[in-house]
C-alpha cells in the first residue's frame, strides 16, 4: 500500500469579495515509502497548494473542497488539528518554499530543534544536543552554529538547517516546496545533493515541489507535472525525459538547454493558463496546445495509462493506443511543436553594440555595521568597472553575496557608491547618478527601472495589483481613467497574468510566488524605460514563463533599443539573453567579456564553479 494516497483532491480559494478559485481540481496521486517524487508545473498551477493541503496547513480562504488524503491508511484530510498532531513531523515533515523565513527569528536554532525533538521523542538533555549535533553534521554545517540566531546565518545555511530540522526525528515523508529558490546554483547544488544522499540513507519518501525542471529531473525517481490545478502527466523520471507524453511536458523540457551549446534552442509555451475561476470545457491546456484536436476543446481528458505513465491528454492517449476512438493523429513527437527561442553562437557573438548608457567607473561600496562597540565594515563591491550599452544586455553573475544587488542599487541611484562614479549618458548629457536629486532623480527613474529580487517585499501588501501598476503610468505617462485601466490590464497580460481583469483587484498575498514576481516585472515595464536593471527577475518562475520573460526582454532590446542589466546566477538564461557577461566574486569583477566566450572558456574558478553547478538531467538521461 502506498504511503500517501491522494484521491480526487480539490482545493478552493474562496475569498469573500471575489469569485472562488479552484486551485486544485480532482487531483489523484500516490507516493510509496522511500520514493522521491518530483512535482513540477507552471507557476500558479497549484503546487504549493497541494503541498500545503497534504500538510493540512492551508490557510483561509483556502479549503479542501473534496477528495481524500490517505496517509498510511488514515484519511488525514478531515482529521482535527489535535488528531493531526501525532502525524506531524514524526510522520510528515516539510521544508517550506520560503524556508529562509521559516525559522523563529528570536530563538536560537538549537532551541528550535530541541522543542520538536522533545515533543516527539523520549530524548532529553544531553541526548537532544547530541542529536542536533548529528543533524548538523548531516547537512554539513559546523555544530558551533547551533547557538546562533537565524539571522546570523546565510540564506544557504538556513535552508540546510531547515532540511536538518525536517529530518530531525526521522519522518517517513517530507514535503520540499522549492527548498532552494533564491539561492545561487552552487549552494543549491550542494543542498540538493545533501537531500538526495540523506534520502538514500534514511529512506524517507519525498514530495519535491519545484519549478526548476533541471533539479527535479536530476533528483526524483518519478515526476508529476501539474497544469492548472490538475495532473497533466506522471511518469518515472528517466522515462519522462525519454518519452514525454503531455504536450505541456514537452514544452517544459524544451525550455531547458545547455548554455555551452553552439546553438541553444528554447521552446516556450505561448498563451496563458486558464482562469481558474472559470475552467474551460475540455482540456485546460487545449488553447495553448500545438497538438490539439477538436475533441480537446470539448471533452476533458481523463487520466489514462499510456506508455509507461499516466497522462491526461487525448492526443497522447490515442498515440499510445490507450484510446479506442480511432481518431487519426500523427506519431508521437518528442519535442514541443510550438515556438522556439533560438540563440546561435553567431547571434551571440555579433551582438549589437549600441552607445554607452551607463558607465560604472571604479565603483566601490562599503557597508559599516555596528556590532556592540565595534564597527564592522563589509566591502560589498570594490573597484567595479563596466559599461552598459543601449540595446545591449549585460549579465551580472556571481554567487550569493557577491555584491550583485548592491551594484544594482547603486546604478539605479538607490544607494550611493562610497568610491568611484556611475555616469548615466542620457539624452540631456552625462550625469553622475549619485549626485542626482529631486526632479532630476525623478526623471532618471522614468528612464531607469528596477526589477526587485525579492517579490515578497517588493509589493505593497495593502495595495491591489491594479493600484500598484497604475502609479508609474499616472506619474510618467499621465494616463487616467479607462486608458489607465486598459494599460494596466495589458501589462498584466504581458507578464502572463491573465485574464488581467481577474488580477487587477487582487492583493499580493493572493498570488503564488511566481505570480508576484511577474507583477514586479510588469511594474518595471510600465514606464517604458531606457535601462532595466533586473535583479534575479525569473528566480521563482517556471521554465516556460521564464523563457517567455526572456523573450519579452529580448524584444524590448531589439525593438526599443532598451539596455538591460540582467542579474542572475543562471548562466543558461544569461546565454540566451545577454551579449556580455560580468562575473562578480566577493565584490570584485573577476571576469567580463562576450557572453559566449565567458561561458565557453571561463577564465576564473568562480565562473567555472557556477557552470559546473548547473544541473544537467539530459546528460544523465542520455547516458
Amino acid at each position: 500500500m502506498a504511503l500517501l494516497d491522494v484521491r480526487d483532491l480539490s482545493i478552493r480559494y474562496e475569498p469573500k469579495q471575489r469569485p472562488a478559485v479552484d486551485a486544485v481540481d480532482q487531483l489523484s496521486f500516490s507516493i510509496d515509502e522511500g520514493e522521491f517524487v518530483g512535482l513540477i508545473g507552471e507557476s500558479g498551477s497549484g503546487k504549493t497548494t497541494v503541498g500545503m493541503a497534504v500538510l493540512r496547513l492551508l490557510q483561509r480562504p483556502g479549503r479542501i473542497s473534496g477528495g481524500s488524503i490517505t496517509f498510511d491508511g488514515t484519511d488525514i484530510a478531515h482529521l482535527s488539528q489535535d488528531e493531526l498532531r501525532k502525524y506531524r513531523w514524526r510522520e510528515i515533515s516539510t521544508v517550506f518554499q520560503s524556508s529562509m523565513n521559516a525559522l523563529n527569528p528570536v530563538t536560537r536554532v538549537e532551541a528550535q530543534f530541541a522543542d520538536v525533538i522533545q515533543c516527539h521523542t523520549q530524548l532529553r538533555g544531553g541526548e537532544v544536543t547530541e542529536r542536533i549535533r548529528t543533524l548538523f553534521d548531516m547537512v554539513l554545517i559546523d555544530p558551533k552554529f547551533m547557538t546562533a540566531f537565524p539571522h546570523e546565518l546565510s540564506g544557504g545555511m538556513r535552508q540546510r538547517i531547515n532540511l536538518a530540522l525536517a529530518l530531525a526525528i526521522g519522518p517517513r515523508f517530507v514535503v520540499l516546496d522549492e527548498p532552494t529558490t533564491g539561492l545561487d546554483v552552487v549552494v543549491q547544488h550542494s543542498i540538493l545533493e545533501n537531500v538526495r544522499r540523506l534520502q538514500a540513507e534514511l529512506g524517507f519518501a519525498v514530495l519535491f515541489i519545484s519549478h526548476d525542471l533541471g533539479t527535479v529531473l536530476d533528483l526524483s525517481d518519478r515526476t508529476m507535472v501539474m497544469y492548472a490545478g490538475k495532473l497533466a502527466e506522471e511518469q518515472a523520471t528517466r522515462q519522462l525525459l525519454r518519452d514525454p507524453l503531455h504536450p505541456y511536458t514537452k514544452g517544459l523540457l524544451g525550455s531547458y538547454g545547455d548554455p555551452r551549446a553552439e546553438t541553444v534552442r528554447i521552446t516556450y509555451v505561448p498563451g496563458r493558463p486558464p482562469d481558474l475561476a472559470h475552467r474551460p470545457d475540455g482540456c485546460a491546456f487545449a488553447a495553448r496546445c500545438p497538438e490539439r484536436i477538436d475533441r480537446c476543446a470539448e471533452i476533458e481528458p481523463a487520466r489514462t495509462e499510456a506508455g509507461e505513465g499516466l497522462v491526461a491528454c487525448h492526443v497522447a492517449a490515442i498515440q499510445r493506443g490507450a484510446d479506442g476512438s480511432g481518431i487519426e493523429v500523427g506519431p508521437p513527437i518528442r519535442t514541443f511543436a510550438g515556438p522556439q527561442f533560438v540563440k546561435s553562437a553567431a547571434a551571440s557573438a555579433e551582438a549589437a553594440r549600441g552607445l554607452p548608457l551607463v558607465t560604472v567607473d571604479d565603483v566601490s561600496k562599503t557597508y559599516v555595521r555596528r556590532q556592540g562597540l565595534r564597527a564592522v565594515r563589509t566591502e560589498a563591491v570594490s573597484g567595479a568597472n563596466f559599461v552598459l550599452h543601449r540595446g545591449g544586455v549585460t549579465a551580472l553573475v556571481g554567487q550569493s553575496g557577491s555584491g550583485k544587488s548592491t551594484l544594482a542599487r547603486m546604478i539605479t541611484g538607490v544607494d550611493a557608491p562610497t568610491a568611484g562614479r556611475i555616469t548615466f549618458h542620457g539624452s540631456d548629457g552625462d550625469q553622475v547618478v549619485a549626485r542626482m536629486r529631486g526632479r532630476r532623480l525623478r526623471s532618471y527613474r522614468g528612464s531607469v527601472q528596477m526589477v526587485f529580487q525579492d517579490p515578497y517585499s517588493a509589493l505593497n501588501p495593502t495595495k491591489t495589483l491594479g493600484a500598484t501598476l497604475a502609479r508609474p503610468l499616472i506619474n510618467f505617462q499621465q494616463l487616467h481613467g479607462s486608458k489607465l485601466r486598459e494599460r494596466v490590464i495589458e501589462l498584466l497580460e504581458t507578464v502572463a497574468l491573465s485574464p488581467g481583469e481577474r488580477f487587477v483587484n487582487r492583493y499580493p498575498h493572493e498570488l503564488s510566488g511566481g505570480q508576484r514576481q511577474r507583477v514586479v516585472i510588469a511594474r518595471a515595464l510600465a514606464v517604458e524605460p531606457e535601462l532595466i536593471v533586473a535583479d534575479e527577475p525569473i528566480s521563482s518562475l517556471d521554465v516556460s514563463i521564464r523563457a517567455e520573460v526572456l523573450e519579452l526582454f529580448d524584444k524590448l532590446v531589439h525593438e526599443r533599443n532598451v539596455g538591460i542589466l540582467y542579474i542572475t546566477h543562471d548562466l543558461l538564461s544569461a546565454r540566451m539573453l545577454c551579449d556580455e557577461v560580468v562575473v562578480l566574486n566577493e565584490g570584485k569583477v573577476v571576469e567580463q567579456g562576450p557572453a559566449l566566450d565567458v561561458i565557453r572558456s571561463p577564465q576564473d574558478d568562480c565562473t567555472r564553479l557556477l557552470l559546473d553547478a548547473i544541473p544537467n538531467p539530459f546528460a544523465a538521461a542520455r547516458s
Partner: protein, 329 residues
C-alpha cells in the same frame, strides 16, 4: 563609540530642555503661591489674612532677581543635586517630601503595571490565538469597554461598592493604624489600603496591552515560522507562547519600559480620589498650591524617569530582539 556619545549627547540635550521647561512652566502660571497657600489654609470662603500672606511671602523667600539669574541659580542648585525646599512642607526639602511619597507610588503603580502587563499580554495573546472565537470577542469587547471607563468613575464605584457598601476594603489612605515598617501588620494594612486604587488602575491599564498584543500577534500568526511550528506538531500552547507570543511581545516590551517611566506622573486622579500618599497626589497638590520647588522636583523626577526608561526601552529591544542587536545597538 561615536554612537554612544551621540546617544548620551541627546539624552543630555533633552534633559536640559526639560529642566528649562520645568523652570519656566511653573513660573508662567498665574497666581501667587503665598496667597494661594494662605487661602488654602483658611479655606476658600475666608478673607485673606494679609499679615499671613506677607509672612508667607517672607517665609518662602519670593524669587528675586531677573528670570535669567534665577535660572542660573536653579541650574547651579540642580548641579549640586539640590531640589530646593518645598513651599508647602517648609522647612522640609523637596527631596525629603518626594522621598516619603516615592515608594508608595512606585510600589502601587509598579505592581499594577507589571500585573496588568502580564494579564494584558496573556489575554491579548490568547485572544489572537483563538481569533474570532467567543473568548476573543468577549476579551476584546469587555476589555475595551472597561478600559475606556474613566478611572475616576471606576474609583467612585469601587469606593461605594466595595468600600462603604460591602465594607471589604478601606477607601482612603495608604495605611491606618499600624506603624510603617517591615512587619506583617503593616503589610496587611498597606495592602488592604492599596487594594481599591490598584483595582481601579487594574481595570483601565490592561486594555492597551491586550489590544496591542492581539494586534501584533495576529500579524505574526501569518508568518511562516508559525506555520512551520504548526507543521512541527508542537502543542498549541507552545506555539502560541514560544513562537507567536514571544515575537509579538517585542513592541509591547519597549512600550512597557516607557509605561514604567510614566508611572511617576500618571496617577494624579486616582491617588487623589483614594487619598493615597503617593507622588501623583503630591503632584496634584503641588499644582494646586503652586509649590514651585516641589512641582519642579516632581516634574524633573518624572522626566528623568521617562528619559531613562526611554533609553532602557532602546537597549531592551536590542536584548530581546536578536535581529535588532546589530541594527540598533
Amino acid at each position: 563609540m561615536r554612537y554612544f556619545a551621540r546617544k548620551i549627547g541627546f539624552f543630555v540635550l533633552t534633559l536640559w530642555a526639560v529642566v528649562t521647561l520645568n523652570f519656566l512652566i511653573p513660573r508662567l502660571q498665574p497666581g501667587d503661591p503665598a496667597e494661594l497657600m494662605v487661602q488654602n489654609l483658611a479655606g476658600k470662603n475666608a478673607q485673606l489674612n494679609r499679615a499671613q500672606v506677607e509672612a508667607m511671602r517672607d517665609l518662602l523667600g519670593a524669587p528675586s532677581g531677573s528670570l535669567f539669574s534665577q535660572y542660573w541659580s536653579y541650574l547651579g542648585q540642580l548641579a549640586h543635586g539640590d531640589l530646593g525646599i518645598s513651599y508647602t512642607y517648609f522647612p522640609y526639602t523637596v527631596a525629603e517630601v518626594i522621598g516619603k511619597a516615592f515608594w508608595w507610588t512606585v510600589i502601587l503603580v509598579g505592581a499594577v503595571q507589571l500585573l496588568s502587563f502580564a494579564i494584558g499580554i496573556l489575554l491579548g495573546a490568547f485572544a489572537a490565538w483563538r481569533r474570532n472565537s467567543r473568548f476573543d470577542t468577549s476579551v476584546t469587547v469587555i476589555s475595551t469597554f472597561v478600559g475606556t471607563l474613566q478611572p475616576f468613575w471606576i474609583a467612585l464605584l469601587l469606593i461605594y461598592g466595595l468600600g462603604y457598601g460591602l465594607g471589604w476594603f478601606p477607601t482612603a489612605g495608604g495605611y491606618e493604624a499600624s506603624t510603617p515598617g517591615f512587619n506583617g501588620a503593616f503589610l496587611y494594612d498597606a495592602l488592604s489600603h492599596a487594594f481599591l486604587p490598584a483595582l481601579t488602575l487594574m481595570i483601565v491599564t490592561p486594555i492597551g496591552w491586550i489590544l496591542g498584543m492581539r494586534n501584533t500577534m495576529i500579524m505574526n500568526l501569518g508568518e511562516d515560522y508559525i506555520r512551520l511550528a504548526r507543521a512541527k506538531g508542537l502543542p498549541d500552547r507552545m506555539i502560541a507562547l514560544r513562537y507567536a507570543a514571544r515575537n509579538a511581545l517585542l513592541p509591547s516590551v519597549a512600550g512597557f519600559a516607557l509605561a514604567l517611566g510614566g508611572i511617576l506622573g500618571g496617577t494624579i486622579l486616582v491617588e487623589s480620589v483614594f487619598d493615597y500618599p503617593g507622588l501623583g497626589r503630591l503632584m496634584g497638590e503641588a499644582v494646586g498650591i503652586k509649590d514651585y520647588p516641589l512641582l519642579q522636583g516632581l516634574m524633573l523626577l518624572t522626566a528623568v524617569a521617562t528619559l531613562v526608561a526611554n533609553l532602557i526601552a532602546d537597549l531592551l529591544y536590542g536584548v530581546l530582539d536578536p535581529r535588532a542587536r546589530r541594527a540598533a545597538a
